[in-house]
């Protein structure tokens, strides 16, 4: 865009963008607590809907926790760029001399820290509530930690694609959910395997592979999608 040499290095630009968004996200403790509370409340709905039989709940715990994590990411990451689009920040991002993919990645990273990572760390508590055997708890955290990287990036892509569309909210889930299916499957399977004492490592490895692949590919796609969204 502009032909001068950026006066800040790429890393500093990434860091600045990251800090800005981390700050905006964590402006109040409530903003951090809210996704966790959402997770908590939705998890409590299941015993209410499915009946309180502990054995049954415990056998379903990995599935429930992962599905809820996916939904939470859908609700949160899906709006990643909404306010940036509305208030014009996206235009400014686009005109900055740094690659859009990097700046977008910084935003996604800040977002991941404030939601995905936190959720992964707190998930064992919910696991215990649903009676998930203790062998599964560590793997639950690890799988969510890796998986939420993918979920957040995919959510960000969905957000970037739909941000300029009025009433894009539900269209978003249509775009995102199919792409999230492998993450869900690998994640739940890893936890199931850990519970039954099987080979969970290879499932986590698959999840790690997905996360790396997403990190490599998706920021570019997100950048391209944002460019289209601003230009409509």
């Amino acid at each position: 865009m502009s032909h001068d040499v950026p006066s800040v290095s790429l890393i500093a630009a990434f860091a600045g963008q990251f800090a800005r968004h981390a700050k905006a996200l964590i402006n109040s403790p409530a903003d951090v607590a809210n996704p966790l509370l959402f997770f908590f409340m939705v998890v409590t709905l299941f015993p209410l809907g499915l009946g309180p039989d502990p054995e049954r709940l415990s056998s379903m715990a990995p599935g429930i926790l992962w599905v809820v994590a996916l939904l939470a990411s859908l609700m949160v990451s899906g709006k990643l760029f909404a306010s940036d689009f509305e208030d014009g920040s996206l235009e400014q991002l686009m005109l900055s001399p740094y690659p859009l993919a990097i700046l977008a990645l910084a935003e996604v990273a800040a977002h991941w820290f404030a939601t995905g990572a936190l959720l992964a760390l707190i998930a064992p508590v919910f696991g215990v509530m649903l009676g998930l055997p203790s062998e599964g708890l560590l793997v639950l955290t690890l799988s969510l930690l890796l998986g939420s990287v993918c979920l957040t990036l995919i959510g960000a892509l969905g957000s970037a694609l739909t941000v300029s569309i009025r009433r894009g909210g539900l269209l978003l889930s249509l775009l995102i959910i199919p792409l999230n299916v492998p993450v869900l499957i690998f994640g739940t399977t890893a936890v199931y395997e850990a519970v039954v004492g099987g080979n969970w490592v290879s499932w986590l490895a698959l999840l790690g592979g997905l996360a790396l692949g997403s990190l490599a590919l998706l920021p570019i796609a997100i950048g391209a999608a944002l460019r289209v969204s601003v230009d409509t």
Binding site: M1, S2, H3, D4, P6, S7, V8, A12, A13, G16, Q17, A19, R20, K23, A24, N27, S83, E86, D87, G88, S89, E91, Q92, L93, M94, L95, S96, P97, Y98, L103, V228, V230, D231, T232
Partner: protein, 197 residues
């Protein structure tokens, strides 16, 4: 070398041609006002010049040097304070340290309001926060879409002075406004009614 040249630019929006044959070359020290009735295409042209709009833009636009674009949307996060907004603004290339930002906010008469969430400011105060970027950006070409909106008389005067300084310091600016011309002989008008398709 001009800071921006546009050659035979045409603009189309939603299957309708708005403008054709806009050619212009903006040199440092020049101040251009885009003039035209509501809906003629001033905002669209400004976005095409900035490079934000590409779909539906024909012709050639070349930019040499960095630019600052301030559109209708002012890129402020309502839950951040004024200084936080300026601190992390991606268009703000300087490693803006606190002093510079405080000085910029003082310039736009917002001292004392630096640490209030921007969402609680009045319309004119918000615009002033956005305009504080003019103090912080090193860009030589400014593209400003209706910058005088919502400002009171003192604010308009400040902005006028700031734009004159920028031009005097070899910068250049393109702006739109529906208010009567402020810069006398200094400014050049591009009347878009001659380019309506």
């Amino acid at each position: 070398m001009p800071l921006l040249t546009a050659h035979d630019v045409g603009i189309e929006r939603g299957d309708r041609r708005l403008l054709t044959g806009v050619s212009l070359s903006i040199n440092s020290g020049e101040l251009w006002q885009l003039v035209g009735a509501n809906g003629v295409g001033k905002t669209s042209l400004l976005r095409a010049l900035s490079g934000l709009a590409r779909l539906g833009v024909s012709g050639e636009v070349q930019r040499h040097g960095s630019l600052l674009y301030l559109g209708h949307a002012s890129a402020l996060k309502l839950s951040l304070t004024a200084s936080e907004n300026l601190r992390y603004h991606p268009a703000c290339d300087v490693e803006a340290c606190a002093e510079q930002i405080a000085a910029a906010l003082a310039e736009v008469s917002l001292s004392g309001l630096e640490d209030r969430p921007v969402g609680t400011l009045s319309a004119g105060q918000k615009r002033r926060v956005a305009l504080a970027r003019l103090m912080l950006s090193p860009a030589s070409l400014w593209l400003l879409d209706e910058p005088f909106t919502a400002l009171d008389a003192a604010g308009c005067e400040w902005l006028e002075r700031r734009m004159r300084e920028h031009i005097a310091a070899n910068g250049a600016a393109v702006f739109t406004s529906h208010q009567p011309s402020r810069f006398g002989a200094l400014q050049r008008d591009l009347d878009l009614k001659h380019h309506v398709a």
